[in-house]
């Protein structure tokens, strides 16, 4: 990919945020006037555990270049244990994606509490930068959604 094309690249990033911690963290980032790129589209879910592998793959299919899942810190889940299950599931899924040759780093899990507006903002900035360096997602998308 040429440098010019890279400059034009506007990544599409889907962030699944749990209702109780991370979504509130995003709110705090906003009210604290902390910036994060507009490429990130937040989808609110009741718990990080609500996200199943199909959500992640579906996001890629429909054209996402990166998918990030944010939830409460382990031990702080609103439903006590949801994020523990999510953690195991995502580890398995990410490992499988790596195994079939999808670039490492297109997927990420980060625990963001309601008080961590700064962490939310830096995480998103970092993630967008990472996706920029990886370029467009060509290995997991559906051709029909591209043009």
């Amino acid at each position: 990919m040429s440098i010019e094309a890279n400059e034009e690249f506007k990544p599409k990033i889907v962030a699944f945020c749990c209702n109780w911690c991370s979504y509130a963290g995003a709110d705090l980032a906003g009210s604290s006037r902390l910036g994060y790129p507009a490429d990130v589209k937040i989808i609110r879910v009741p718990c990080s555990c609500r996200v199943n592998p199909m959500f992640i793959l579906r996001a890629f299919e429909k054209g996402a270049d990166g998918v990030i899942l944010c939830g409460c810190h382990p031990g702080d889940c609103h439903y006590s244990t949801g994020n523990f299950y999510a953690r195991r599931r995502m580890t398995m899924l990410f490992s499988m994606l790596d195994y079939i040759g999808v670039e490492n780093g297109r997927t990420r899990v980060e625990w963001v509490s309601a008080a961590e507006g700064v962490k939310f903002s830096t995480t998103m900035n970092e993630f967008v930068e990472k996706i920029h360096s990886l370029g467009k997602n060509v290995r997991l998308g559906d051709l029909r959604c591209r043009n």
């Binding site: 299919e61 382990p74 523990f84 299950y85 195991r88 499988m96 990420r108 899990v109 997991l140 998308g141």
Partner: protein, 324 residues
């Protein structure tokens, strides 16, 4: 085999069981089919030989809904699947009478044909009592031979052992046929670069015709309605319009049985296109072993599998990138 038939008839006659699930002789030397036997005369066709690869434990889901007990013939590796189904309350132990049948490795006709052997008229050495190391195959184009080992199913090369994990009685002897490392193929792929990995799976999965045989044969895939059968879901079972569909299907299929897959190898056995589907399942098994402790699904009836439990110290998903 005669001992097995005699015992099955006896149990049927004294009313212990109402039916028997076993294999019925096919019309070619290598294609016995799973079948129900309810009357004494049905047993004329009963067969048990080295081509009886099908795992009968899944048939027990339906059989357990019927009146009376069902006798089922399970090979050592099939008993893992049965245990797993028990764990998930999909079968009823009280409704099953399990005869553990001996197994000395099962044969894959595709592997025999791969060696250029065609026009098969008869195969010698596939009887369960035979200890032959070679198969003698009479064909329309002359007599051919084939080493038993070379004709074995992939799963038999990584045999889990000759012990039945659950049974009411055992008939026949079993043999551990393991001669390869279970995770060797997975490790080979893990060592590839992302480009190579991607190319490898792209090539293999491009053969997929979305027939769903892997899903339907899988004893762990026991949902009444599969997510891929939902009409409200726009990536449906049938179409393979774009390569992504297959990837999505195969990742999700393997994921849905992760931690529950006993590695029985039915998916790879039934695939009409010979896609090594066990590579997906085994990757999950390997990861679970490494990250959450060694675990063999179906070894015993357990409360919780690895993906339905957790510890506070579990690895973060970021470990995937760190492991490289």
């Amino acid at each position: 085999m005669q001992e097995l038939i005699a015992r099955a008839k006896e149990l049927l006659a004294d009313g212990t069981v109402a039916r028997v699930i076993g294999w019925k002789a096919g019309d070619l030397p290598y294609n016995p089919e799973p079948a129900y036997f309810e009357k004494e005369e049905d047993f004329d066709d009963f067969v048990y030989n080295s081509f009886c690869g099908a795992n009968l434990s899944k048939l027990m889901i339906e059989a357990c809904k019927l009146e009376g007990k069902t006798l089922v013939c399970l090979k050592p590796c099939d008993t893992y699947s049965f245990n797993q189904l028990l764990t998930e309350h999909r079968v009823d132990r009280d409704k099953a009478y399990i005869i553990g049948v001996g197994c000395k490795g099962k044969l894959d006709i595709e592997r025999i044909k791969k060696q250029g052997i065609k026009g098969i008229k008869s195969i010698k050495g596939a009887e369960i009592t035979d200890d032959a190391e070679t198969l003698t195959i009479d064909t329309l184009y002359g007599e051919k031979t084939c080493a038993f080992k070379d004709a074995m199913l992939e799963r038999c090369h990584v045999c889990k052992g000759k012990e039945h994990k659950i049974y009411d009685e055992i008939i026949g002897e079993s043999k551990d046929t393991k001669d390869a490392e279970r995770f060797a193929e997975v490790e080979k792929i893990e060592a590839m670069s992302p480009e190579e990995k991607f190319a490898f799976f792209q090539k293999e999965l491009s053969k997929c015709i979305r027939c769903n045989a892997c899903r339907n044969a899988c004893p762990a895939c026991s949902c009444r309605k599969c997510v891929f059968d939902s009409t409200k879901f726009d990536s449906q079972q049938k179409a393979n319009v774009d390569s992504f569909e297959e990837k999505m299907f195969h990742i999700i299929r393997a994921f849905h049985v992760a931690g529950r897959c006993t590695d029985c190898g039915e998916c790879s056995r039934v695939c009409p296109q010979g896609i090594p589907l066990h590579l997906f399942n085994r990757k999950f098994i390997k990861d679970i072993d490494e990250l959450y402790g060694e675990y063999q699904a179906g070894e015993e009836v357990v409360e919780r599998g690895p993906l339905t439990s957790y510890t506070f110290e579990d690895a973060e998903p970021g470990i995937v990138a760190e492991r490289g």
